[in-house]
């Protein structure tokens, strides 16, 4: 059994209005970052998971996302990294 550092990105699903992202984009525009086109604000979760290998750790985190960490009705998630720690 090893320990893995797994990080996951959770973001509002495409097509779902993200007023937070919109407000951030407007603030960036007012700061003269005129090149910003679209901003979406999500969550980034990092956890330590004990597992036999990286693939198992990743699979466990997917199960956690399906059950609790993301709401499949309105959010998508992506495992960002799996590293042995």
């Amino acid at each position: 059994m090893s320990r893995f550092r797994v990080s996951v990105n959770i973001s509002p699903r495409q097509g779902i209005l993200d007023p937070q992202g919109k407000a951030v984009a407007e603030a960036l525009h007012s700061l003269e970052f005129a090149d910003v086109r679209d901003v979406r604000v999500g969550r980034f979760i990092v956890m330590q998971v004990d597992a036999a290998d990286g693939a198992t750790a990743s699979q466990r985190v997917r199960e956690m996302c399906d059950k609790l960490l993301a709401n499949p009705v309105v959010e998508d998630y992506q495992i960002a990294s799996v590293e042995e720690s």
């Binding site: 509002p12 779902i16 209005l17 007023p19 937070q20 407000a23 969550r43 609790l68 960490l69 709401n71 009705v73 309105v74």
Partner: protein
């Protein structure tokens, strides 16, 4: 007739719900602790408003796994009435008792103000004491009340008469300016496919007496009483 009001860590409308049931309606009410597994023989479960678990992760996401929720879901699956108010509506959606989700208000601000609702369906166990088209004045107090679901779900809710309440203006018409959170189709309250679970963002329990600014919410409790006693 007995109401059970679930107290989660962070619930803050449980006492208002208790007041509405006992003092305004004249029925019996008990508090049900979130760690309990016993519904104590209640006829109706109320998931009250508040900020259960600090709204961590997503509003309602953690409360939905509280020990008592297993019994609440079983009660609902047996056809037992459940009403989720505000945070309770969010919890009911997270628990799969109702479709869709409640997202950050479109205007980004927490809204705390009285709103107008129109009764869209009088043939539910929560609305039988109203008439279709009745206008109610109830308070809202939420930051995440924008009801959202996929197009197919919305079509089904509308087609099956499961939109119980809609945000409207003083003339009783749907109006973007009268929609406090940007909910799809100005939806303020829906019922489950079987009709025994109501989710509503505004607070009927805080509007049960003219002294509180409006008695318009009492009808929901009277409707449940009429249904259970029948």
């Amino acid at each position: 007739m007995k109401f059970g009001i679930v107290t989660f860590p962070g619930s803050n409308c449980d006492y208002d719900a208790h007041h509405a049931v006992t003092d305004a309606l004249g029925a019996e009410a008990v508090y049900l602790w979130h760690k309990s597994h016993d519904l104590e023989g209640v006829d109706v479960v109320i998931l009250p408003g508040g900020f259960s678990y600090g709204d961590y992760l997503r509003a309602g996401a953690i409360a939905r796994f509280s020990p008592i929720m297993r019994e609440v879901v079983a009660h609902a699956r047996r056809g037992g009435p459940v009403i989720g108010i505000c945070n309770g509506f969010q919890i009911a959606c997270e628990a799969g008792l109702l479709p869709g989700a409640l997202l950050r208000n479109a205007g980004l601000q927490f809204v705390s103000e009285p709103v107008r609702l129109r009764v869209e369906n009088q043939d539910t166990m929560f609305t039988n004491r109203y008439s279709e088209g009745d206008l109610l004045r109830l308070p809202v107090a939420h930051g995440e009340g924008r009801y959202t679901a996929d197009a197919e779900t919305i079509e089904r809710l509308e087609g099956e008469g499961r939109v119980a309440f809609r945000y409207v203006n003083a003339a009783g018409e749907v109006d973007p300016a009268a929609n406090p959170n940007g909910s799809v189709n100005a939806i303020a309250g829906i019922v489950s496919a079987e009709g025994n679970v109501l989710g509503i963002m505004p607070h009927p329990e805080r509007a049960v007496d003219p002294l509180l600014g409006s008695p318009d919410g009492l009808g929901i409790f009277q409707s449940m009483m009429a249904h259970v006693s029948a």
